[in-house]
């Protein structure tokens, strides 16, 4: 099982292909399996050396009790880059993975070649997003949680930590109910993260202020679902970053990579090739 150790912490990763380096970052409570599942990893491997890993606290990587801010995890990213001998990286991050990617561009500009920001929401831009509590994905989760006896309201979408804690402290029979609603593996993930500072850390600005976000000059793509709850953020990035394009994935919300994988993969492939100056030639199919 391929693992790399940085500062005593083990990270599970997979690598495929040859060429300029691309690194893929999943979101909170996900894991790297999403990239082979949506066929993004093999598609990019035609032009790039693609590295995908499990963030700390996720998948088969270690779970330290703390250190889950975007600054901490941007540190993990560049340490892992060094340990694996990767060159300047094109980083694609989904959701909080996108926050980590952008924070890495701020803190370690020379390590980053370009960014694909896949539906991130930034704690430092919270004032832009006023209607997220009504987002259907959150409503769905809220209903599941309420059926199992969790007290989740519209405002809690922002408070993942609160959610982790409530989940971990459910009485046994309620825990079983929730587990049935959500699935065993998902429940295990929440319980695992509840024992860490992850929930509080991911809503911390952690130095990634609006001013710093605006300062990024790397080639970037704001890639959002056309019905994403975070379109205000998408517009903000496109208008305020020096070198940021925008692309919307049709028929998709916050999880465009899962909701419309062929369109998502085609857009990522197209834009990464352009950023890296690779001619649009042999496409691996799967166009939108």
């Amino acid at each position: 099982m391929p693992r790399v150790t940085v500062e005593g912490m083990k990270f599970y990763y997979q690598q495929a292909g040859e060429g300029p380096d691309v690194v893929l970052l999943h979101g909170v409570s996900g894991n790297m399996a999403i990239w082979p599942l949506i066929n993004l990893m093999p598609a990019l491997a035609a032009n790039f050396r693609v590295t995908a890993y499990d963030l700390r606290g996720h998948g088969y990587s270690d779970t330290p009790p703390s250190g889950y801010t975007s600054a901490d995890m941007a540190g993990d990213l560049v340490k892992l880059q060094k340990a694996l001998g990767l060159g300047p990286m094109y980083v694609l991050g989904h959701s909080f993975g996108g926050v980590i990617a952008l924070h890495a561009a701020v803190l370690y500009p020379e390590s980053i070649a370009g960014l694909v920001l896949s539906d991130p929401y930034f704690p430092g831009l919270r004032h832009l997003e006023t209607r997220v509590g009504q987002w259907s994905g959150w409503q769905e989760y809220k209903e599941q949680a309420n059926r199992a006896g969790l007290e989740v309201t519209e405002e809690d979408w922002f408070d993942v930590g609160q959610l982790f804690k409530q989940t971990a402290n459910l009485p046994a029979e309620r825990y079983e109910m929730f587990r049935k609603e959500l699935g065993i593996a998902a429940m295990d993930r929440l319980t695992r993260l509840a024992a860490t500072t992850c929930g509080d850390d991911v809503k911390a600005v952690a130095g990634l202020t609006e001013e710093r976000i605006r300062s990024v000059r790397h080639p970037a793509l704001a890639l959002y679902g056309e019905e994403s709850p975070f379109l205000a953020t998408c517009r903000y990035l496109t208008e305020n970053l020096a070198n940021c394009r925008m692309a919307l994935v049709p028929k998709a919300k916050h999880r465009a990579h899962e909701e419309n994988p062929p369109a998502y993969v085609a857009l990522v492939q197209k834009h990464l090739r352009e950023m890296a100056g690779i001619a649009q030639g042999h496409c691996m199919g799967g166009a939108a």
Partner: protein
Amino acid sequence: MSMTKDEIMNDVASVLRNFNGREYSGDIDSNTRFFGDLGLASIDAVVLGETLEEHYGRKLPFHLFMADLGRRAVRDIPLGELVSFLHQHLETD
């Protein structure tokens, strides 16, 4: 290497019975579903692929298996389909 599907099913079952420190005591057969019954996560499918590659001492195109899994409306798979995949690629590759 020529193996029957039954032999491959036995290999898969023995790997999954104690998979990365998680024991599973229920029956494991070709109808057992990877996620719904065994309670495994998507990342376990990636790691299972590596474990089986080690077991058989060869590379197998698991990215095809993962992409197939990802295209399903209900993302689950009975072990019988994994066995068929292995049978096909252990035969021909």
